[in-house]
């Protein structure tokens, strides 16, 4: 009896109970698709996070003060920021942007109030260093900063809240009693977390210090390197200069009153976190595949048990054990291969859509693994009861109820 004939028997066996075959395949389909999609979602969100971190600028470092209680000896000052612009000691630095930020400043325009979550005072270089381009209007100039002109560039959310349907450029807004002129609107940024990055306003450092923050310490200093590869060099240059300025003994680095945040090291940490996240999602999906596998096992057991009588008839008609075993193995294989294949297809189609705000990115190895596991489960748990049934004496199989 040729292999092709056995395949035809199997197809006939499957089509004899179309609903059950379809449901079995559905179980495998869901298991496989879940594994592939969940891993893809984990991978996609990891990729999205790293994309955003890269968008923040991998060629910048952020210097922040670690001092608590505002001790003046450890605070970052404008003087230190200026000291960093030193072609001799720090040749790799492209720009330095001192930043003061005031949280929750209320902006008012013609009776409409809006509490801006971050009100940033800085220099024009900040727009380039933090990859925050201006969409409409213009950013303020270095002259604005030296003159302390009260101009402001607002984020999309602020523009929508205060100026619904109106062009905000050249409008006057009140911030803590002082009038600011809107000169530009920032390009919309995608969210990186819970905070809305578009709910912001950027004004000249001097103006913000006058109106909101006072002439105290800076919140942070953003330093931009000439080249992403020079970030490490810039970091050491910055710490050398700051150690000088703050009179810190460079040997006891653990007690420095400032902290340098590096976007690429942030990226590394984030990637590790995201990998853990993907593994976790994969584990959850693997459990669903396992449950799906138990479903397959159950249906295969039922199928074979229910057809024990048929196996008895076939044996009585002279079917060798091998042919019967092959028939059921091929049936199980077809079911799991078709189900697994459809699951892969479903996952590929599903990955074209955004899932909970994440664009899934398929991991090829997850496709192979999920498909392989489903086929292995189908083969093993379909084959086991079939082998048992094929070993029965015909009369026992015929009497089986």
């Amino acid at each position: 009896m040729s292999f092709f004939e056995v395949v035809r028997f199997s197809l006939r066996g499957l089509s004899a109970n179309k609903l059950r075959s379809a449901l079995t395949m559905l179980g495998i389909l869901i298991g496989v698709a879940a594994v592939i999609l969940l891993v893809a979602v984990g991978n996609g969100s990891a990729k999205a996070i790293s994309d955003r971190i890269e968008a923040l600028g991998t060629n910048t470092i952020t210097v922040m003060s670690t001092g608590r209680g505002g001790s003046s000896s450890t605070a970052l000052t404008k003087k230190m920021a200026d000291a960093l612009i030193d072609p001799e000691l720090a040749p790799d630095i492209k720009s330095v942007s001192p930043v003061v930020s005031a949280s929750s400043a209320t902006m008012t325009y013609e009776g409409t109030d809006h509490a801006v979550s971050t009100f940033v005072g800085t220099t024009p270089d900040w727009f380039g260093a933090s990859s925050t381009p201006v969409e409409k209007g213009a950013s303020f100039t270095a002259d604005d900063v030296t003159q302390g002109r009260r101009v402001v560039v607002i984020g999309q959310t602020v523009a929508e809240e205060l100026f619904p349907g109106i062009d905000p450029i050249d409008k006057q807004v009140t911030v803590s009693g002082a009038l600011f002129t809107v000169v530009g609107v920032l390009k919309e940024k995608s969210s990186t977390g819970f905070q809305d990055p578009n709910d912001t306003a950027i004004a000249p450092l001097t103006a913000v210090q006058q109106v909101l923050a006072g002439y105290g310490s800076l919140t942070s200093i953003i330093v931009e390197a000439n080249d992403p590869d020079k970030v490490d060099a810039v970091q050491s240059e910055v710490s050398t200069i700051l150690n000088q300025q703050l009179k810190v003994d460079s040997s006891s680095s653990s007690t420095t009153p400032y902290r340098i945040q590096n976007a690429s090291s942030l990226l590394e940490t984030q990637t590790e976190t995201a990998d853990t996240f993907t593994t976790l999602l994969g584990a959850v999906a693997a459990i669903s595949l396992l449950v799906g596998g138990i479903g397959i096992t159950n249906i295969m057991l039922v199928t074979v048990t229910e057809r024990t009588r048929e196996i008895g008839i076939r044996k009585a008609l002279g079917a060798p054990r091998r042919v019967i075993l092959n028939q059921f193995l091929i049936e199980a294989t077809l079911l799991s291969v078709l189900g697994g294949g459809l699951g892969v297809a479903a996952a590929l189609i599903g990955s074209q859509f955004e899932i909970v705000g994440v664009k899934p990115v398929i991991v090829p190895s997850s496709v192979g693994l999920a498909f392989g596991v489903s086929v292995a489960i189908g083969l093993f748990f379909g084959g086991l009861p079939a082998a048992r049934a094929a070993r029965l004496r015909p009369i026992d199989a015929l009497r089986y109820e």
Binding site: S2, F9, E310, R314, A316, L317, A319
Partner: protein, 274 residues
Amino acid sequence: MTRPVLEVRDLKKSYGEGEATVHALRGVSMTVHRGDYVAIMGSSGSGKSTLMNILGALDIPTTGTYLLDGVDVGSLSDAQLALARNRLIGFIFQSFNLIPRTTAVANVELPLAYAGVKPKERRRRALAALDIVGLADRAGHEPNQLSGGQQQRVAVARALVTEPALLLADEPTGNLDSKSTDDVLQVFDDLSAAGKNIVIITHEDEVGARAKRLIRLVDGSIVTDVRQSPIELAPVGAAAAHAKVQSVAAGHLAAGHGTVARGSVYAAGGRHTA
């Protein structure tokens, strides 16, 4: 004489162990020669189905030898047994045992498929076998679209399509009405007339009366073994069998035919108590 088609010697079969042992067969010996049409009768529990399953190589005896067409079945491997069931035996079940949701012709083709016959040849022979049982026009019907009698005739076609040395039928008419019973028995008569070797199990007198030889089984042993009509002639047919059963029931013992009479009385008695 040629080699007997079937020969069993001191066949014993018991189930269970120790105190609970049930002896289904207690040493059955019989020989069936070519061209014979044997009916095995017995009440339920007489071991006739056990005997039939052993003859059909579906079950194995506890002790004793079984020669099928000269081959010792007990010595065959699993694969050889499958081959023997396929080539030497055509088995007909009481409950038809057609494969569900499969057309009549596909059911009949099945043993040929296991024998490795090419699809075209298979289809031709399956249709020819269906024609013999008078169901060529029902070839495309599935079992649930056929009456019981038709299903059993499809099963008969399936049993004889491989041209086996021996046709075994286990109560083939047990689930059928009298009309369908007549149809199926007519097929057996025709097959016997065509020279097939048939062994049939039944508990119906009318079925037993049509066979050329009648064996009665009580408690796992043969009690009578009667030649009812010559082996080389066609079976007596429905009318003669009916007449004989009627006359026995009426109490007319056929004079000078003692063995037949004894067997028939026994049959009649069995029917009264049943």
